[in-house]
């Protein structure tokens, strides 16, 4: 079966930055020479990495134009992970809201539990081609770290993961798995000790280790060619989703929803529909405690962000008037980031993608509903997309469909979710375990 699927995939997957290069789309989302998407992107890198980026660009250009590489990638993802991931018709939720048919793209069923696997395995194949022996990565919640550690184990690379000290403490389960997979996890003690600081730290490693080391950027951010490259690997989501909805529903969806941290899962699914002008694309950011509180991570859905350049690229950042980055907040660690993909900033500016924000509270309610109605546990990140989809579903007719990209599974978030639900039995359980381990 797998191979049949692979063939279906094969004939359909343009080896050349699929979504970004669709003709109907014109050139507006195509990168110019300097790695820009419209006014956004670029490569603001220290001189010491110039040569490394030159080589990386070259290697990426090569694989992008090599259909065999894309095929190798699709094969790997269909035997090591579970691609194509299914598109699930959420019949109960659809009925519940009484509007459009809700379909869920199941990236949670990937190996390691999130869309992160797509990017990481793709970069792994690239690293193999480049002949490097070690990978490094930043991680926030730990999903990208676990995915990278997994890839490194599979490919036999040495692996170091940078993770904010705060996050190391909060996300111990993921740290445990990374270590068990053979990776070294380095707690980052600078800055806010979270994702952005881990990115800085990974760059600090890379500027001395680049000869044998590749930095596996976890999302569609950072200096060129990372945004384009990560988007390219993630485009597999949208390619599949478009075919699936046509097959299962018989026509295109009205709207496609995805949560936006850095933007990789969103770009992944959006690329499948960019050329379909009638399909409304909605990115959902972290509304945290509410936009008005300032404690959020809504770059494009709020008016709190402004154009800036940091971490190697130009985009909309949450920063103060001096250009110092702000602390962000979200119940979902993976959305808790100052910047956003330059590709999304471009699509936002061009009004091709619409943005909304979901608050922590709305997220917990949507999570609860989704578990109870469908037996599906989306990651807290993914649940943001569900919130907005639920708000809008009633606007549609039963013969219309929407797709929600479920970027990951929530059972990894048990500590956070059980805490957020303020579950007394969970607390008692943890207290008991803690007591067992005391002394």
């Amino acid at each position: 079966m797998v191979t049949l699927c692979q063939q279906a995939e094969k004939s359909a997957a343009p080896p050349n930055s699929p979504g970004l290069r669709q003709p109907a789309q014109g050139n507006e989302n195509q990168m110019n020479k300097k790695g820009y998407f419209g006014n956004w992107g670029g490569a603001y890198i220290p001189e010491v990495l110039y040569e490394t980026f030159r080589q990386l660009n070259e290697a990426f250009e090569q694989v992008k134009n090599d259909p065999a590489f894309w095929q190798e990638y699709v094969d790997l993802m269909s035997t090591y992970s579970c691609r194509p991931t299914p598109l699930t018709h959420a019949e109960n939720l659809s009925r519940h809201f009484g509007g459009g048919q809700i379909y869920i793209k199941r990236e949670d069923l990937n190996h390691t539990g999130a869309h992160k696997a797509n990017n990481v395995m793709g970069q792994g194949l690239l690293v193999k081609r480049m002949g490097k022996k070690r990978v490094i990565a930043e991680t926030g919640a730990g999903q990208h770290g676990v995915a990278t550690a997994t890839m490194a184990a599979k490919f036999g690379f040495a692996c170091t993961i940078y993770m904010g000290e705060e996050d190391v403490m909060r996300q111990r389960p993921n740290v445990f798995w990374m270590e068990k997979m053979g990776a070294t996890v380095v707690p980052v003690t600078s800055g806010a000790r979270t994702l952005k600081d881990a990115i800085n730290e990974a760059f600090r490693d890379w500027v001395s280790s680049m000869d044998d080391t590749h930095y596996v950027m976890g999302t569609v951010c950072g200096p060129h060619p990372f945004p384009e490259m990560v988007a390219w690997f993630q485009s597999i989501i949208g390619i599949e989703a478009r075919k699936q909805i046509l097959k299962q529903f018989g026509k295109l969806p009205e709207r496609v929803y995805a949560c936006v941290g850095g933007g990789s899962n969103a770009m992944g699914i959006f690329q499948g529909f960019l050329a379909d002008r009638a399909v409304d694309l909605i990115g959902v950011e972290a509304g945290g405690k509410g936009i008005e509180t300032g404690q959020h991570a809504a770059r494009l859905a709020s008016s709190d962000a402004s154009v800036g350049v940091a971490q190697g690229y130009k985009t909309m950042f949450l920063q103060n008037s001096d250009g110092q980055m702000l602390d962000t907040h979200s119940v979902a660690a993976g959305l808790d980031y100052i910047g956003v993909s330059p590709i999304l900033s471009d699509l936002w500016e061009k009004k091709r993608v619409r943005f909304a924000a979901a608050t922590d509270t709305e997220v917990m309610a949507a999570l609860d509903l989704t578990m109870k109605k469908e037996g599906i546990i989306p990651a807290l990140e993914s649940t943001h997309a569900f919130v907005q989809a639920f708000k809008e579903a009633p606007e549609l007719q039963p013969d219309q469909a929407i797709i929600i990209n479920q970027s990951g599974r929530g059972d990894k978030d048990i500590f956070t979710i059980a805490h957020a639900f303020d579950d007394p039995s969970w607390k008692a359980f943890i207290r008991g375990k803690g007591a067992d381990y005391a002394a």
Binding site: P46, E47, V48, E51, V207, A310, G312, Q319
Partner: protein, 254 residues
């Protein structure tokens, strides 16, 4: 006088020039003031004033923490300008701004150049702004006659060095090794080859930085480079022994 001329004049008097570095607002502008006094009085030839940035990607742990602390202590870009104006007015040596591109970008690049020129700053070091991204920056540098100091790294190829030099002015900042600021560099044969490559690529004065910490480092550089850059070493010194230790340290270097 433009930066390059000023440095050549100084260099004519000394075997090697000393450039020092500090992070504005860390631990406070008061301490900055005292440290600079000690530096100038003990013969420092040029000073890099780092305007703190929250994401100092190219800096090592010591300078990174200094950036963070300065921001936490409330240092603003406006204060940095005021303080730099005071220093440039007080001392006769060249002062440079070192910072990351976002600080210029958010301030408004033109405004940043204009203001810097006004207060007597001589040039900028912006480690995350390669010439490819700096069209406007480089044009403004020419317009305002401020030196857009370029950086060479051991990984830079010859062609690349020429390109950088062509876009630079004042001097070239040669990063002594791969990696971030703050770790020791070993000035071995490989380093000598690297310096020869730098020299061959440009006529601009060469500064060498990253990990220069004592007299023997400075001696090793003498003859190979025009300027020795002391960065992390003084910051650590101030942290450990206070600003009063800076003068004797600087005096001991050369």
């Amino acid at each position: 006088m433009q930066l390059e001329q000023q440095l050549r004049a100084a260099r004519a008097q000394k075997d090697i020039l000393l450039m020092t570095h500090l992070v504005l607002g860390y631990p406070s502008f008061e301490v900055n003031r005292e440290v600079i006094r000690q530096m100038v009085e003990n013969g420092v030839d040029i000073i890099e004033l780092q305007i703190p940035f929250s994401e100092p990607m190219a800096d090592g742990p010591v300078i990174m923490m200094a950036n963070q602390e300065a921001i936490n202590a409330g240092a603003t870009v406006k204060q940095c300008f005021e303080f730099a104006a005071e220093m440039a007015a007080t001392y006769d040596i060249p002062f440079l701004f070192m910072t990351y591109y976002n600080i210029l970008f958010k301030y408004g690049e033109e405004e940043f150049f204009k203001k810097s020129k006004e207060i007597g700053i001589k040039g900028f070091i912006v480690p995350d702004l390669p010439p490819e991204e700096g069209d406007k920056y480089l044009a403004l540098a020419r317009q305002y006659e401020l030196a857009p100091i370029q950086i060479f790294a051991p990984t830079s190829r010859e062609e690349r060095m020429r390109f950088l030099a062509a876009n630079g002015a004042g001097f070239i900042y040669c990063v002594a090794r791969k990696g971030v600021t703050g770790k020791k560099s070993s000035f071995n044969e490989e380093f000598a080859t690297y310096m020869a490559r730098c020299r061959a690529a440009t006529d601009l004065p060469l500064a060498v930085g990253f990990g220069i910490a004592d007299r023997s480092d400075v001696e090793t550089l003498t003859g190979k480079a025009d300027i020795a850059v002391i960065g992390t070493a003084t910051i650590k010194l101030v942290e450990e022994k206070g600003p009063a230790a800076v003068g004797p340290f600087i005096a001991s270097l050369r």
